[in-house]
Every structure is written in structure tokens, then in C-alpha cells.
């Protein structure tokens, strides 16, 4: 039993170290591609090749970053708690995506159901959690769609319009992304799930009638 625990720990440490070791090689590839891009002798096809190299570096880099975050959460590296104003956490996340919200003409409604929105939690985890949920709501939306957010002292609910394409049943698993977009690594919801486990929050998702909804319950023992 104990041996299993030790080897699991080693495996996690190994995974995190490996992720960090990949950052310099990725920086080398990206820098060489950017240097190559400055050459004046490139034709369309050369530029396409460089573009693919750069996009692939980006993909690996995102994937790597997500794996680092996951392993940090699993290794309990986000422990400090402070009183967070959840209204602000949500508003800050919405602001990050304001361009994309405007671009797709999404209507956003943010209802504060109760008076008190203060929650003791880790600020980094909370920011990652809420940003991931809002990011999903923005990008899995439809043009002229909507995002309805409701916040009480115990629950954050986000509903958004969706094209109705079925979400994979195992969408909380790692590496499962909804549509086959080359840019997304399919780790967003795995991170959300991992954070909820860590903080003992429960998460519910439902899809019905071209609407996707997610609720996070902060307090499990009312």
C-alpha cells in the first residue's frame, strides 16, 4: 500500500518536472520559427509550414501548461485561503472575454441572488475555476446567444445557449474535447472537476433544449 503511494507521488513529481523540462525546448522551436519568419525569401508554402510549426508549438505549450496546473492542484500547491468576493471573481472573468462576447453578440445577464457573496477559498483556484466555466460558456455558444449567470451564497450557476451538438458523455475526462478544434486541449473541464474535488464542491451539468447549464455548489453541509 505504502509503496504504491510513494511511487504515485514520484510519478506525479516526475510528470511535473517533465512539464517544466519541456518549456525550454518549446522556447527554442518557437524562437527558430520566428527567426525563420523574418527571411525575405519565403513563398506561400514556406509560410504555411512555419505557421503549422508555430501553431503546433502553441498547442503543446497550452497542453503542457494545463498539465502543470492539474499536477499542482493534485499536489495541493494551492492552499492559502482568503475571503473572496465572488461577484468580483465572476466580473473579472467576464471582462477577460468581453471582446469575444461582443464579437458573437452574446447577451450576458448576471443575477446576484443573495446579499452575501463572500467565500473563503484559494484565489488562484477560484480564478481558474470561474474562468474555465465562463470560457466554455462563451466558446460553446452560438452567435447572438446568451449567458445567464446566477450567484448566491452557496451556488454559482451558468447557463448558456449551445448549438445542440451533443457533449461527449465523458466530457469531464482528460483529453476529450467537444468539437474537434485543433486549438483546444480538452483539459478545461478536467481542471474544473479537479478543482471541485479539491475544494469539496459539487458540480452538476445538464444539457437540454439547446441550453447547457453548470452549477457549482460551494457548501455541501448547509
Amino acid at each position: 500500500m505504502r509503496k504504491d503511494k510513494t511511487s504515485e507521488l514520484n510519478a506525479r513529481e516526475y510528470a511535473e518536472n517533465l512539464s517544466h523540462e519541456l518549456l525550454t525546448p518549446l522556447a527554442i522551436i518557437r524562437s527558430k520559427a520566428e527567426l525563420l519568419l523574418q527571411s525575405s525569401h519565403l513563398d506561400k508554402q514556406d509560410l504555411q509550414h512555419i505557421d503549422v510549426i508555430l501553431k503546433t508549438v502553441q498547442r503543446m505549450s497550452r497542453l503542457n501548461q494545463a498539465l502543470i496546473i492539474l499536477s499542482k492542484i493534485e499536489n495541493n500547491l494551492f492552499v492559502d485561503e482568503e475571503a473572496l468576493d465572488m461577484k468580483e471573481v465572476v466580473a473579472d472573468s467576464l471582462e477577460k472575454f468581453e471582446d469575444q462576447i461582443r464579437q458573437r453578440s452574446l447577451s450576458v445577464r448576471f443575477a446576484k441572488v443573495s446579499e452575501n457573496h463572500s467565500l473563503r477559498s484559494n484565489p488562484n483556484l477560484m480564478e481558474i475555476l470561474v474562468s474555465n466555466l465562463i470560457k466554455n460558456a462563451v466558446f460553446h455558444n452560438v452567435d447572438k446567444g446568451y449567458i445567464h449567470i446566477s450567484l448566491s451564497d452557496s451556488t454559482l450557476s451558468i447557463e448558456n445557449a449551445t448549438s445542440g451538438k451533443a457533449l461527449p458523455r465523458n466530457h469531464f475526462d482528460r483529453f476529450v474535447s467537444g468539437e474537434n478544434k485543433s486549438g483546444s486541449h480538452g483539459l478545461g473541464l478536467a481542471i474544473v472537476q479537479q478543482i471541485c474535488n479539491q475544494l469539496h464542491y459539487t458540480i452538476e451539468t445538464a444539457i437540454a433544449d439547446r441550453q447547457y447549464s453548470t452549477s457549482i455548489h460551494f457548501k455541501n453541509n448547509p
Binding site: 518557437r30 505557421d51 501548461q65 485543433s182
Partner: protein
């Protein structure tokens, strides 16, 4: 302007030397902590690029030394560790900026220019490109002495182009510059395109020449024709 690049990876160092040499910087390099210590003692630099993980120790200890040597020199940390504590510690010790690998060369270039302007030139110099004058303190833009009102994104975009003039900048680096690294490139492309269109329109209306050229599929270059 003189740069000291402290980086132990030979290929990354070569990329940095080549790129910044072309921008007219006088670049020197160190691959170890010990060599960097000596160079910092013996020479003056305007800006330091410091990798934290060096074969003979942590680059963090160079930060205080650089600051003591010349408080007006810029210090930018290049780290292969995305740990927030690392970043906070570097900034507390006196680094001016912190960039996690893999960074874009054009982003690093913009950071260097911004740090040097703030520290070496006491922040009071405006940036000029032909008929365009940017005042980074007031975040204002003049074209032929007439103010052009830009949104925050348009302003950030223009400044990024001017800092990286005459070089191809990738769409990925621009979108990361504007929105940070949580956005997928494909998701940022539409928004980038619309800001770019508006920026071009406003500059043209002010009588500015169109310096922004598209580089097939990959990005843009800002230069005179």
C-alpha cells in the same frame, strides 16, 4: 543600448543574440552564474535578461547584484517555471518584468523596449514612427500632430506593432499580448481582425499612411513601404 543575456541553453541563446542584434542592440551573453557575476562587475548594461535555472545556481541572486550595480538598468527574468511564487520573488528582489518560457521573441522585444523606456529614459520620451507619435504615459496617439482616439485594445495593438517595427509578428503573439495566454488562437482571431480593421480605419482617417501589411496566413509586419 547594451544587453546582457544570461541563458545556459546554447540554441535559445543563439536565437536571442541573433534577434536582438538585428534590432541594433549591443549584446553580450553568459551561460553561467559565475560568468554573469564577472560581467556584471566589469561592464555597464542597459538591460539584463536573466534565466533563473543556470547550471551553477539560481539566477535569482543576480537580480540584486544588477540592481546594486546600476539601479536604472532594466531586469527581465526569463523562467522555465510558471510558479507564481517564483514570479513574486523575482519582482520583490527588483526585477522589472517576468516572462515564462516559451515566450515569443516579439513579446520579449516589446517588454525590453518598454522597460528601457521607463527606466533609462525616465519614462518621458514619446515613441515616433514617421507621422505617428505615441505617448505611453498618457496612452495617447498623435498623427501629424492631431490626436487620434483609440480604444485600449487598438492602442495596445499599435504600440506592439511600433515596438516590433520591420519584423513579422505572428497572430499568436499578438493575441497573447492582447488577451493573455488563456485564449485559444482560433478563438482570438476574429476579435483581433476586428480591432485591426478599426485601428487601420482610424489611422487612415487621420491621414496616416497604411503601415500594417499582412504576411500570408501567419501574421503582420509594420513598416514603411
Amino acid at each position: 543600448m547594451k544587453l546582457l543575456i544570461v541563458e545556459d541553453d546554447r540554441e535559445l541563446l543563439r536565437s536571442l543574440l541573433l534577434y536582438f542584434h538585428e534590432y541594433g542592440y549591443n549584446c553580450e551573453s553568459s551561460k553561467s552564474l559565475r560568468d554573469a557575476h564577472n560581467k556584471i562587475c566589469d561592464h555597464n548594461y542597459d538591460c539584463f535578461l536573466i534565466d533563473l535555472s543556470l547550471p551553477d545556481g539560481n539566477g535569482m541572486e543576480l537580480i540584486e547584484k544588477c540592481k546594486r550595480r546600476d539601479n536604472s538598468a532594466g531586469i527581465i527574468v526569463l523562467s522555465a517555471n510558471s510558479n507564481l511564487d517564483n514570479k513574486i520573488e523575482s519582482l520583490e528582489k527588483g526585477a522589472d518584468d517576468y516572462l515564462t518560457k516559451p515566450f515569443h521573441l516579439s513579446e520579449l522585444n516589446a517588454r525590453i523596449k518598454s522597460v528601457i523606456r521607463r527606466k533609462k529614459q525616465a519614462g518621458n520620451l514619446s515613441i515616433t514612427f514617421h507621422e505617428i507619435t505615441i505617448d505611453p504615459e498618457a496612452k495617447s496617439v498623435m498623427v501629424n500632430e492631431q490626436e487620434v482616439k483609440l480604444t485600449k485594445r487598438e492602442y495596445d495593438l499599435l504600440l506592439y506593432f511600433v515596438y516590433n517595427k520591420n519584423k513579422v509578428v505572428t497572430k499568436a503573439s499578438i493575441s497573447e499580448h492582447l488577451w493573455g495566454d488563456f485564449m485559444d488562437v482560433s478563438d482570438a482571431t476574429d476579435a483581433l481582425y476586428s480591432h485591426l480593421k478599426n485601428l487601420k480605419k482610424k489611422l487612415k482617417a487621420a491621414g496616416c499612411e497604411d503601415y500594417i501589411q499582412m504576411v500570408y496566413g501567419v501574421g503582420y509586419i509594420f513598416k514603411s513601404k
